[in-house]
Each structure stands twice: as C-alpha cells, then as structure tokens.
C-alpha cells in the first residue's frame, strides 16, 4: 500500500527532471528498490498505472531489486523536445 506514496514521489521528481532536461516524453523510468522496502511489484505497477500523468504518462516502469532499505530513481529515458 505504501507503493502509492512512493510512486507519487517518483512521478513528481520524474516530471521535474524531464522538464529540466528538455525531455517532452518519458519512455522509461528505471528504479532501484531495496528488498527490505517490502514493495510488491504488482502493487507498484498498479499504483503507476493509476497515477501516471504528464510527460511520464506513457512511460514504461522498470526496476531492479537489491538488498537493503532503498528506493532510488536510477535514470529516465525519453524523447528530446524538438523546440
């Protein structure tokens, strides 16, 4: 259930980073998640599908699980603004 608040934060930061980086459409969001965060992949995807908006509305969410209590946004990939 905490997946929702985590994804909410992710979307805020992704939107900010994509705007600053001149990216108008985000295609990939890559996360690194600590196993001890007890995050459920299905719930994470569900939260993302529910909350996705703005430049990340059509992005694909990817993640890698590591040991520990972490929740990082690794990188984003997307299309550069043409203007």
């Amino acid at each position: 259930m905490h997946e929702v608040s985590l994804i909410y934060e992710v979307l805020l930061h992704v939107e900010q980073a994509s705007r600053q980086g001149g990216m108008n459409k985000v295609t990939i969001i890559k996360l690194t998640i600590g196993e001890q965060m007890m995050v459920m992949p299905e719930a994470l995807q569900f939260a993302f599908d529910t909350l996705r908006k703005g430049p990340a509305a059509e992005a694909e969410l990817k993640w890698e699980i590591i040991e520990g209590i972490y929740f990082y946004i690794d990188y984003i990939e997307g299309e550069e603004s043409s203007d």
């Binding site: 690794d74 299309e79 550069e80």
Partner: protein
Amino acid sequence: MTKHIPMKHDVLQTNKTYAEQNRTRFYDENTFTINLISSPGSGKTSVLEKTIKNLKTIMNIGVIEGDVATDLDAARIAKHNVKAVQINTHGACHLDAKMVAGVLSLFPLKEIDLMVIENVGNLVCPAAFDLGEHVNVALLSTTEGADKVVKYPTVFENADVVLLNKIDLLPYTGFDLKQFRDDVHQLNPDAPIFELSAHSGEGIGRWTKWLKESWVSQTQAKDFDWT
C-alpha cells in the same frame, strides 16, 4: 532523439529530511520518542494504556495516534488525562515523518518527557518510514502465530525492542514461544524481548522499567554531550 537522464534520486529523501528535523526537535526539547509498530489488533493501544498508567506519575507523556480513519484511539488515550492527537492517513498504511511534523506544534513539547507514536496497524509499510523516533518498538501478539517474525522480517530487524502481547492467551493459541524467541534473536540479536499481557498486566512492569531506563540514559547522554 532518445535521451538518457541519470537521476540517482533517493525517493525516501523527503521523508528522511523531515525525520531528521523531528529528531532534532525531540532532542532539543528533551522528548524521548518511541514508534510503536504492529498489525491491527495486536494490542498497541491496550499496551500503551497500561504503560501510561505505570509511568504517568514520573513522566509527562504525549501520544500521537495513527489510523486510517476515526479518532477512537486518541479518545481512549485521552481518558487517561494524557495529551493525545489523532492523525488520519485516509488510506495510507503508515505514518510518515511529515505527518508527524505537522502535529508537533499541538504539543507542549518542552513539558513532554515521553512521546509515543502509535503507527497505523501494519507490519509492512511503517518499517520503511523513519519518523525521527529514538526507539522502534515492534509488537506481536500470541494470537498471530510465531511465524510472523520471519514472514515480516524488516519490522523485527529494525526494532530496538520487541514486545510479545497477549501472553494470557498462550494456553489457547499454541503460540511457539521458543520459535519466536529464536527467530527474533536470529534477526536482531541486540533487541531485548518483553513478554507481557495488557489484560492481566503481567510483564508490563519489566517493559516500563526498560523504557524508563532508556529515557534516563538518553537524557544523561545528552547532559554529557560536550560537542
């Protein structure tokens, strides 16, 4: 053109920042703070009520109650003439440090020696959110089964102290005490375990003695802090 933006952004950072601010506040105001975590119905509020009865005469206590909805628990605590503030998370399964920061101004923190934060009933989510507390308390009850320690290891790994409640029901629940003790020791060798019953009162004294001593040593450590 495809673009790659490296971020390495810690999503928990916002919570960590608020938690550090809370911790500084608690430190400055001499408020010893505990974060009480268990699944719903294990007896957090009941144990807290007994704890209050025991310590009320020697410490000023404040309580922050976290629940998805209602202020029933804050009302239960307020009956003991202790200042209690309810936070409703409206669906969120845990308290975060910002929610706690938002209610601190409702307390006369300078006068409060012990702040108890009763987290939302859940053995999963609260573990990931530091609130700025000094002590993490994980509570399990004998009706839940001893296997919950290994099934929900993060809460028990991060605990500074582990409570087992409802030992009055041991004869009926088939709770495996040995497995419970072994698993807690395995995950968290340093955490003391207190076995107690909020109903009969058994074991409450040992727990409150530990709590009082932790408070005293925290306060003394501060007095001797020369930096």
